[in-house]
Symmetry: C2
Subunit: 343 residues, 2 copies
């Protein structure tokens, strides 16, 4: 954080908004009016508009003790974009509302926005509006993302078919292991502030937790390979929870192979160190922001060479249940034990 | 509030979402996919999409001691719709994200949503998505509204012209007087919980505070009368603040006539009782959610017969400043003293 501290209240609400938005560059031709009016105007002739929103609350969704503000700004945007890609759509605009406690300086807020703008640049997104107010307790972030998709190309959760292949992108379980590591370091730090955490060894899992990316590349690959998944969603609550959503909404069962679940070497090593089961981290950990999707078997040839995609199972009729076949040769019902933010 | 108390945590996040969304009816043909997926899909062929968002935080934007939850749900929607109408657009969809503290029962949340759905019904809006999580401290509401407008019919704040008439809808200052009254009653109640507040006499100003309406009718009137305002915004921070926004963004000055500012008889009476200046309430009070707009002088004949519209001044060149001409014959600079939520 920068050394100089400017009280946010010294700018006033409108001064603050001007300060935060003065460097915005618009990247999409569809953005007709951006920030600075009652509402943004977006032109979507011939496309369908996709919209999604997330609310992030301090100490529920993030912990500022180990979350750099720039990463938090970046992640706040990315988790919303991930939902747009999960519709097979392209995100184009976001709005960002903040509730800011007065322990935040302007410099701290600038750091947060650095991350926001970095994500906007990386994903070619326009920030088109928002709302800023004070918060007595903690930092509150609300992001809404808008995207566009060709009519009839959007992909829902409810449209998987029996026999479809179940696939996921990237690798799973890392973000949860990263969280466990950060929580452990936090505890050590709070007990003895002189011990500096050694984060080097766990860079991969920590990075996956603090600075996730949305799978733009996978949606672009679908376009190029002429694949339209039969269903899709992003993995925010854990593989189990998301598979059960697809099954429930598509009225299907599933067979999932434990050995096919992609888990990075770094994740396995870190899990081993913390005496955690890497499969359980993938199934119930969440926050990986990978895509889970189903495709027709006839699309198998089109995606088999993409190393970022794993086929992990297939859809069955509902009566066959939702099963995981373990490496040891057993089969169990898939149960969602994902993190419930309401408990 | 209902007698029975169901803990929200007993439903889990997805159970809660199902419970809250099970009765949603879609009203707009443009709503292709509503709640229940990663994102909503909205079809806007041949129209431009307008988007706006607001974040409402307990004890910053509302006080649950005197705000019925149903009214709060209603108002949360209406204040966003007001921003869409202020673009001369028609709102069509909203998303609603909530951070809920565990002192809320399911019944309390249902009451809140009753108000949300009442507003959706009244304004023909589809609720198409959201996000629900717990909040350790206080109730947090984030609403995003989407609307549509014919290309080139949207109205910004920056496009007023010199000589244009400055107009506003309805009457002003009531919501602020209502707030003062409610704050006074709260203080009396906290000092002596046996004294029941007598709200009957101030029904009008209290109603304007707790259950505002957005001026759909004015935007419909513009369409019918073939008026396109040259600039427009809604009055959320107070007349002074909004006039200064239009002047700044349009690079103009203004002359405002105090005697032309519309103030209801009930507001004057209540202001008198509380020893408040009704003009100051209109200028600096805020939360009236009326529209302020400018029109070409040639449109005067088209709107003069509409009793819901008052001509309150006219736009001048920037060098002439921003002036209010008082009833007493003086002139002063208009200064924004509106409520600053960041102080």
């Amino acid at each position: 954080m920068a050394d100089h501290r400017t009280e946010i209240s010294s700018l006033g609400e409108f001064g603050l908004i001007e300060h935060l938005t003065k460097n915005i560059e618009l990247r999409n031709a569809s953005t007709i009016v951006g920030v600075g009016d009652d509402a943004a105007v977006i032109d979507h002739f011939g496309k369908q508009t996709v919209i999604t929103t997330d609310l992030l609350i301090e100490n529920i969704h993030f912990d500022l003790i180990y979350t750099p503000l720039k990463h938090l700004g970046y992640k706040s945007v990315v988790v919303n974009l991930s939902d747009v890609y999960a519709m097979n759509a392209t995100p184009t605009q976001i709005t960002m509302s903040l509730g800011i406690s007065n322990r935040f300086s302007l410099e701290a807020l600038d750091e947060f926005y650095e991350g926001v703008y970095a994500a906007c640049e990386k994903y070619s997104i326009d920030l088109v509006g928002g709302d800023t107010s004070s918060s007595q307790k903690g930092f509150i972030i609300s992001v809404t993302a808008i995207g566009e998709v060709e009519p009839d190309k959007f992909v829902q959760r409810s449209t998987a078919k029996k026999g479809d292949l179940l696939c996921c992108s990237g690798d799973l379980g890392a973000a949860y292991i990263g969280l466990v590591f950060l929580e452990r370091e936090k505890k050590i730090f709070l007990e003895n502030p002189n011990i500096r955490p050694d984060l080097e060894g766990e860079k991969y899992v920590i990075g996956r937790m603090l600075k996730p990316e949305a799978r733009k590349d996978i949606v672009e690959f679908f376009e190029k390979a002429q694949i339209v998944p039969t269903s899709m969603m992003d993995i925010s609550d854990g593989l189990s929870s998301e598979i059960l959503h697809i099954c429930k909404q598509s009225h299907l069962g599933v067979v999932l192979y434990e050995e096919k679940i992609p888990i990075a070497e770094e994740t396995r090593n870190a899990a081993f160190k913390f005496e955690l089961d890497p499969t359980m981290s993938a199934m119930n950990g969440g926050e990986d922001y990978e895509l889970i999707f189903t495709v027709a078997q006839s699309d198998y040839d089109k995606l088999v060479l993409n190393e970022q995609i794993s086929v992990i199972g297939y859809m069955t009729e509902s009566e066959k249940g939702k099963k995981i076949y373990t490496k040891g040769g057993n089969q169990f019902d898939i149960i969602a034990q994902g993190w419930n933010s309401l408990k």
